[in-house]
Every structure is written in C-alpha cells, then in structure tokens.
C-alpha cells in the first residue's frame, strides 16, 4: 500500500523529522508534522489523513495528552487510523486506546520505528483499519493473564501464533514472521480458538479483540 496521507505529532524535533523522512521514503505523504496535541487535532481537521502517528507524552503537561488526543480522534474521525508511539508501554494505556474497538488503532514502542519495514507495515495496517499492538504489551498481557490454565494447554508454537494475533498480524503476516505457510497458520489459529473456546471470527481486528479480551486486557 502506498500513497497514504499521514499527520505526525511528536515534540522532539529530531525524532519528528526522522519519522517524517522515514514515512516519506516509504512513498507516503506527510501532510503535517506538529509538536503537540492541540495542533494535532487542528491538523487532522485540516488534512483528513488516512493515519495519524502520535507521541503520548507531549507539551504542555507532558503526561498523556497524545493518548487523549488519539482517543478524541478515534471518536471524531472513525475512518482515520491512529498509531500511538511511546517510550514506555502501559497496558492500561492500550486498554484505554482500544476500548470497544480495535479498528484502525496501534500502540508501539518508539524502539520499533528503528525496524523500518515492520514500522511501515504497522502503519499501513492501521491505516487500512487493522491493529498494531506492541509485542511488549502483548507479552505483559500474557504474563499478567488470569487465564494461565487455558494458556498452558497451548503448544509453544501456538503461543507464538497467539501473541502475533494479539499484535494484530494477519495470517499472512504471521506466516511471514514464523516462516511457515498460510495453511499451517490457519490450522494453528483454529486449534487455538478451539482450545480457548473463543468464537471464530473472520475479521483480523475482531480476532485481536477476542484474543485481548481472553487475556484480560
């Protein structure tokens, strides 16, 4: 997928510039790169981007204005994907961000940006209405899950597939990540849903929500 319109909100100038350059290099168009939450909302109203990349901690309070702006955006512009970046991952932030729906939403550590291909993939996924959840959040969720009994019934490979599903990857994405074929992934997914007694669902983002709900997010 190419030619997305993107708006960036990040208060650190060097990182903001790097981010813009990276996204432009991938053939997308950065319509605006702004340093705080208010100007982000304004820029989105102006440019109607396909996807927004927002830092969580920005001026003036340096707490969670990026997150609040993102939640606001998701309500006001349901068609716009929102990818939130942060130097820390907080499962509570992920829960607030994905409350109700996992359509077109992402939450990644800033570290992930360095793996440019993965980041571009996540950005495009979110723009297309998919989900991108940081592996760190997923592993935190799995560690803290009260469903340890159910998870214990999974094979190690199935647990890997479950984690990748929770991150929001499609079957094709999971197959690429684990270097296996699509049909093997499908078999694993069916097996996981059977063992955890989850209702099978077709759309990737519903699948993410089902898995996250199972993990207790």
């Amino acid at each position: 997928m190419a030619g997305l319109t993107v708006v960036i909100a990040e208060d650190a100038a060097l990182f903001r510039e790097g981010l813009a350059r990276l996204i432009e290099d991938r053939g997308h168009h950065v319509a605006a790169a702004v340093p705080d939450g208010d100007s982000l909302l304004y820029a989105v109203d102006q440019h109607h981007p396909d996807v927004v990349v927002a830092d969580i901690r920005m001026p003036p309070t340096h707490t969670d204005e990026g997150l609040r702006a993102a939640i606001d955006l998701r309500a006001r512009h349901p068609g716009t994907g929102v990818l939130v970046l942060s130097q820390y991952v907080e499962t509570s932030y992920a829960a607030r961000l994905m409350e109700g729906s996992a359509v077109g939403v992402g939450y990644l550590l800033k570290d992930r940006v360095a793996d440019t291909a993965d980041f571009a993939d996540a950005l495009e996924r979110v723009a297309a209405g998919g989900t991108a959840l940081d592996p760190e959040v997923v592993s935190q969720l799995v560690r803290a899950s009260r469903r340890a009994d159910g998870l214990a019934t999974l094979t190690p490979r199935e647990r890997q597939v479950l984690a990748l599903m929770a991150e929001g990857k499609s079957n094709a994405g999971i197959a690429a990540a684990l270097v296996i074929t699509d049909s093997v992934v499908e078999k694993h997914v069916a097996s996981i849903f059977g063992k955890l007694r989850l209702p099978p669902s077709e759309a990737d983002n519903r699948r993410v929500l089902a898995v996250l709900r199972y993990l207790g997010a």
């Binding site: 060097l14 990182f15 790097g18 990276l22 901690r57 340096h62 130097q87 570290d111 940006v113 440019t116």
Partner: protein
C-alpha cells in the same frame, strides 16, 4: 599620647558622659508614656479578670466539696428517717460528686481554652508569638474516648499548671497595675484638688487624707504634704513600667514554657516536617531524573536507531551512488546523535552524583569552581570529613548558589568558603554583584533552604539591594 577615643581631652569626655546621662534620663522619663508600658499595663489589667475566672474554678471545686460533705453529714443525721432524708439527699450527694468529677474532667479543656486567650493576649499586647500546641488527640469516638483523650491530654494539663501558677502571679500583676500605676497616678493629683476641700474655718481640724504608696500610707494633712504625695506619685509612675515589665517577664516565661507545644512535641513536629521535606525532595529528584532521561538521552537514542534503520534500508535497497550517499548521511547523523546522547547521559549521571565527590568535597568543589564562567576564589578547610549525605548536600548547595550568582547577580567575582567548625560544616558563597536575593516561594533559594532543613541545617541570606550577597549554609557533620 595617641589620639584615640580613650585619650580625648577632658572637656569632650565630659560632654560625652553628659550626653549619655541625658539619654538615659530621657529613656527613664519616656518609659511611662511608651507604647510598651501601655501594652504591658493592659496585659496586667486583662490578667485580673482572667485570674478571677481561674480562681472561680478551685472555688467551685471547694464549694462543691463542702456541699457534698455537708449533705452527706446531713443525710447521716437524718438516717433515722430514711424515707425523706436518704431518699432525697443521697441523690443530691451523688449529683454534687458527679459535678465534681465533671469539673476535674473538664479542667484540661478549660485550661486549653484559657490558654488560647492568653496566647492571643501575648501576641496582641506583648508581641510574643507562642505556637499553639497540637490539638487533643482523639482516641476514638464516643464520650468515653473523649474523656480518656482529655485526661491524657498533656498540653491541656500543662495549661492547667500554667493557670495554677498564674494565680499568685495575678496578685503581682494586680499589684503592679493598681498600686504602682493606679495609686502613683492618683498621688500626682493631690496638689490639684487638695485646696478645694480644705477651705474650712481655722478652728476646724480635719483628719489627714491617706495617700497610698508601695512602702506604706502617707497622711496628707497640709498643702506642703500634697507635694510629698506628688513626689511619691511621680517616682511611682516612673518606676511602674519597670515593675510591670518584671512581672510580665515572669508571666511570658511561664506562657512560653507551659502554653506552647512543649520542647519534645516541638522537636517531633520539626522532625515530621523535615521528614516530609526529605521525602518530597527525593520524589521530586526521581521525577526530574525520569523526565531528563525521557526527554533527553532516550529520545536521542530512539532517533539514532531510527536513522540507522533508514541507513540499513538504503544499503539494502541498492548499490547506486545516491543510496550510498544518503546512507552515509544517515549514519553520520546517527553518529552525532549517539555522541550527544552520551554527553547527555554523562551530565545526568553527574547531576545525580558527581564522581569527584568520592574523593571528598575539596576535589569536587575544585572541579565545580573550575567550570564556573565567573572566577571563583575557593577556600576549603575541613579537618573532619562529613558523612557522604552531608557532602552531597553541601556540594549541590554550592552548585546551586554558584549558578544563582552567575545567573542573577551580575558579579565578576565569587568567593566560596567551606569550613568545618566544631560539629558544623559551614558553606559560604559570596559575590560582588547587585544583591537583592530573596528566598521567594518556589524559587531556588527556598528549595535550597528546604533541602538543608531536612538534615537540621540552616541557610542564611545577607543580600542588601546593591549587594554584596553572602549566603551561608550550616550543616551538621553527620546527618
């Protein structure tokens, strides 16, 4: 002979002595009309009704005791007819005894109430601030807990002790106010009205009019006698301020000792406050470190990784000259970013704990002084090494004071002196700048004073407008 103050010509010395005598006499003459004399007199006068109120308490107690004793004796007499005696008087005795118990239980509360009045009087009339003791510590709910808390209330009982000590003192205060002031002023008036009442026929003998003095009663029978009364009155009024001052001095000493929070309680309150400051201080420090990391080194490293990631893309993408140039560019940016991140981390680490401090305050301060943009004259004389915590606080105080001097004073010379003196470490930072430094709320100096107080230290600022500024921090050698 050397011309100095000791070798002045006799005439000048006399004049100096006369001037001193004149000023002393002026002081004595003005004392009765001074504001202080008036306020102290008012305090003595106000004490009289208060003392009577206090007196009412033991009087009520004694009265009730007598009543109870009398009634029980009476009821014993009437025991022959229990129907109308014990049946009626028994409950009365019980009621009186109950009232007695209630009075005793109430004593600390009454004491506290009158303590409030006395502290206000002291503040209003004597300009003496006495800190109120802590409130009664409630042990729980319900009347029994209330009574228990009251009976265990140390400050309440100390206030009762004050009131007990106040009883004899009230007599002295009344004596000073009535005899020295009242009678003294009255005696001054004798020559004025005496002739009016003495225009009787020569054959009539009138008994002399008494005039009250602290040393006995004068009998004024003739007009010249009234002059004696006037003289006595004048000396009494001149002496009255000193008498009242003396009595009030005793009273205020008692108030400080018994109506304040008590030395131990005060110490506990101080320590509680110091602990709260220390906890706040360390929490604020951690928050600042996190913030500095987040906004500094962390984001720089994230940017480095981002640039290297893009460089990798370029190197993977092709072998064209332009790709290589861009990749080189990106790597060079990342390289600079990594160096910046290192510098930032180094600064942050030094801000947490300067490594030079491990070799002692002298080394660390030398490094600090060398890095100061304004020339610093540093003298360090520490015979005994303070504990690390004190060294750290002394170091950061000096750093902050130096930064302040550089930023605000406009000085071109700064002197830093650090000296061990007995159990104290004294840090003095002086500059020749424009002065006018104040410990404004929320400012750097106020924060410094707070940090110093966490270890029972003190910070003193001498900074008149126009300068020079000298800030002295005294810290204990051991925290």
């Amino acid at each position: 002979m050397s011309p100095g103050p000791a070798a002045q010509p006799p005439g000048r010395r006399d004049r100096g002595g006369r001037a001193r005598l004149a000023s002393a006499l002026t002081a004595i003459g003005r004392a009765p009309v001074s504001r202080r004399a008036r306020q102290e007199l008012l305090f003595c006068l106000a004490s009289v009704p208060l003392g009577s109120a206090v007196l009412a308490f033991p009087a009520a107690l004694a009265g009730l005791l007598v009543l109870a004793a009398g009634l029980s004796a009476g009821s014993r007499q009437y025991r022959a007819r229990p129907a109308d005696a014990a049946g009626f008087l028994g409950p009365v005795v019980i009621v009186v005894l109950l009232a007695l118990v209630v009075l005793i239980v109430l004593a600390p509360r009454i004491g506290r109430g009158l303590g409030v009045v006395h502290r206000r009087l002291a503040a209003g009339l004597l300009s003496q601030r006495i800190v109120a003791p802590r409130a009664v510590r409630a042990g729980g709910r319900g009347p029994l807990a209330w009574v228990a808390a009251t009976l265990r209330d140390g400050p309440g009982w100390r206030a009762v002790a004050y009131l007990a000590a106040k009883l004899p003192l009230v007599l002295l205060e009344a004596y000073a106010a009535i005899v020295w002031w009242g009678a003294g002023l009255a005696n001054l008036t004798y020559p004025l009205w005496f002739p009016w009442f003495r225009n009787h026929p020569p054959s009539v003998r009138l008994s002399p009019v008494p005039a009250l003095t602290p040393f006995g009663v004068l009998h004024i029978g003739t007009l010249p006698d009234t002059l004696v009364a006037f003289a006595a009155g004048a000396s009494m009024v001149l002496a009255a301020p000193w008498v009242t001052s003396g009595v009030v001095l005793v009273d205020s000493w008692l108030m400080h000792a018994l109506l304040g929070p008590g030395r131990l309680a005060q110490r506990v309150a101080d320590l509680e406050q110091a602990r709260a400051l220390a906890v706040d201080d360390s929490a604020a420090l951690l928050r600042r470190v996190e913030r500095d990391l987040h906004d500094g080194a962390q984001i720089r490293l994230a940017t480095v990784a981002l640039n290297l990631g893009m460089a990798l893309d370029k190197l993977d993408a092709g072998t064209g000259q332009s790709d290589l140039t861009v990749a080189r560019d990106l790597v060079s940016t990342a390289h600079q970013g990594a160096k910046d991140a290192m510098a930032e981390l180094r600064g942050l680490a030094r801000g947490i704990h300067p490594p030079a401090l491990d070799n002692g305050l002298a080394d660390a301060l030398a490094t600090l002084a060398a890095g100061c943009p304004v020339p610093v004259d540093l003298t360090v004389d520490i015979p005994r090494r303070p504990t690390p915590a004190i060294e750290t606080i002394a170091y950061f105080c000096t750093a902050e004071l130096l930064a302040n001097a550089v930023k605000h004073s406009g000085a071109n010379k700064i002197a830093v002196g650090v000296a061990g003196q007995g159990e104290l470490l004294l840090v003095q930072v002086g500059d020749n700048g424009r002065g006018g430094a104040t410990p404004a709320e929320g400012g750097g100096l106020a924060g410094l004073a707070q940090r110093v107080r966490t270890v029972d230290g003190r910070l003193e600022i001498a900074s008149p407008p126009g300068g020079p500024t000298r800030v002295t921090v005294s810290l204990p050698l051991h925290a």
